[in-house]
């Protein structure tokens, strides 16, 4: 098929997060301003510097059959749960090829994770040391490979147009959605199941992030630990879960009479080339990504009413982000309701772009921006940039045709910005 420039729409959403086992309960939690951060009670964390995390609200074993749980890494379990919800939500009642709705050759999956099957890797190494070689699971490799969530969702829906897994740390989930948009735009697929997942709550990743000085050590007040934009922020809180969307060409969605949440206008990508883990302080890389978004789509700054910010609760990152937004959106930044949902969900690393895309899509649908928790004292640098952070309670968004942006940045200097517009 020749390259095209087709319109891409969202027709289905699914999630399993620290706030709920599906997209609806997650949204309810976000709008109510509920924190998903809890103490890590397991004794393995007892002597660690960080003993809090945003753990999944509904354990996959409660939802998936036991044989599946045995041979899927937790990250793939989350992805499968979210993908099944999104697939059904999009109105698909069978896997591709079983009915006339979509042919397998026109269906793809792009599901990313930042770290892949890290708990499988570590747990199976424990098995090797403690029980011997014979006991290491034969499923270890297909479980730990980072493309496993995408491949397993691909098997579930019978996707043959392509199964992909971009990896860019905490930008992975957003990059996956951007990649999926391009697959549809260029004519490689009509429908793509896309999103991000992460399951990295384990003593080793926790300690490793803590030793980078990247995590909050507010162990005594878990619900107050994730506090983007607040002067007292001291690092992110690790979260787990997945968010998945079904993206579809507008023609394909219309032809089968699917209901549409919103349009995905496109993406903007750039790299900082500054430091392997530090955010570039002026926000030039983020500004470049936003500029590409503006250049490559017909998005106008005046129609942007909501931003789901990257804002992880580390002291440096959120300031660079608002500086870049100011540079590109100008005074129009002042009418953008900014939500840092990581204040509630924690930071899902490669899953963040997935669940935050689901949150952005629902914000446009319900015309409501979730609050940002724990902003007791707003950092003056945020106010100086003219950024309007939604605090306290959720805020209504305007009627009419409006747009929203979802930002995701990752260790390695990856910047991914996505834009959505009501239809």
């Amino acid at each position: 098929m020749s390259p095209t420039n087709r319109t891409v729409v969202v027709t289905g959403i699914g999630a399993t997060t620290p706030l709920g086992g599906d997209a609806a309960s997650t949204w309810e939690g976000l709008i109510a301003g509920r924190s998903g951060v809890r103490p890590l009670d397991d004794e393995r964390y007892a002597d660690l510097p960080v003993r809090i995390a945003a753990q999944i609200a509904v354990e996959p074993a409660e939802v998936l059959p036991r044989p599946l749980v045995r041979k899927l890494d937790r990250s793939a379990q989350f992805a499968l749960i979210a993908a099944r919800e999104a697939w059904a939500d999009a109105g698909y009642t069978a896997m591709a090829g079983e009915d006339e709705q979509i042919s397998p050759e026109r269906l793809g999956t792009v599901i990313a994770s930042g770290i892949g099957g890290v708990t499988t890797l570590l747990d199976q190494y424990d098995v090797l040391k403690e029980k011997g070689a014979r006991r290491v699971s034969p499923h270890t490799v297909p479980m730990l490979m980072p493309n496993s969530p995408s491949a397993n969702v691909g098997l579930e829906v019978n996707a043959r147009a392509g199964v992909h897994t971009p990896v860019s740390a905490c930008a992975s989930g957003a990059e996956a959605i951007g990649y999926a948009v391009e697959m549809i735009r260029t004519g490689r697929a009509d429908v793509v199941v896309a999103g991000g997942t992460e399951a990295a709550i384990h003593p080793l990743p926790v300690v490793a992030f803590a030793n980078m000085m990247a995590m909050s050590k507010n162990n005594d007040e878990p619900e107050k630990a994730s506090r983007p934009y607040d002067t007292g922020r001291d690092g992110f809180v690790l979260g787990e879960g997945a968010g998945v969307v079904v993206l579809e060409s507008a023609e394909h969605a219309a032809a089968r009479g699917a209901s549409v949440y919103c349009e995905v206008l496109g993406q903007g990508l750039s790299a900082d080339s500054h430091h392997i883990a530090q955010p570039e302080p002026t926000g030039r890389g983020i500004a470049a990504a936003l500029q590409h978004l503006m250049d490559d789509t017909d998005l106008k700054p005046s129609e942007v009413v909501h931003l789901n910010a990257h804002a992880t609760s580390t002291p440096q990152g959120d300031i660079a982000e608002v500086k870049a937004l100011r540079q590109i959106l100008g005074e129009d930044l002042e009418h953008v309701a900014i939500s840092a949902t990581k204040s509630m969900t924690g930071h899902l690393l490669g899953g963040a772009g997935g669940i935050e895309t689901v949150a952005t899509v629902l914000a446009l649908k319900h015309r409501k921006a979730p609050p940002t928790l724990n902003v007791d004292e707003l950092d003056p640098a945020i106010t100086e940039a003219g950024a309007d952070v939604v605090r306290g309670e959720a805020r209504e968004l305007p009627e009419g045709t409006v747009a929203a942006i979802n930002n995701s940045f990752g260790f390695g200097g990856h910047n991914v910005v996505l834009a959505f517009r009501t239809v």
């Binding site: 044989p67 014979r134 006991r135 034969p138």
Partner: protein
Amino acid sequence: MAATQEEIVDGLAEIVNEIAGIPVEDVQLDKSFTDDLDVDSLSMVEVVVAAEERFDVKIPDEDVKNLKTVGDATSYILKHQG
């Protein structure tokens, strides 16, 4: 004490149930692991390792390919169990 044929089938049924989710009553001597019981080649390795532990028997990799049915596995275990 060595397990009887019936005890071995019951044991394999529990193992297959745990690994593949197949009801224990469906695990019969004439059933093929791959074709009838949803045990793929990777899960078969799990079945073998679990059977080795349970029945105190060693099943070398080169013998695993001959264990097509529950009956094959049962005979093998009866013959080689410690």
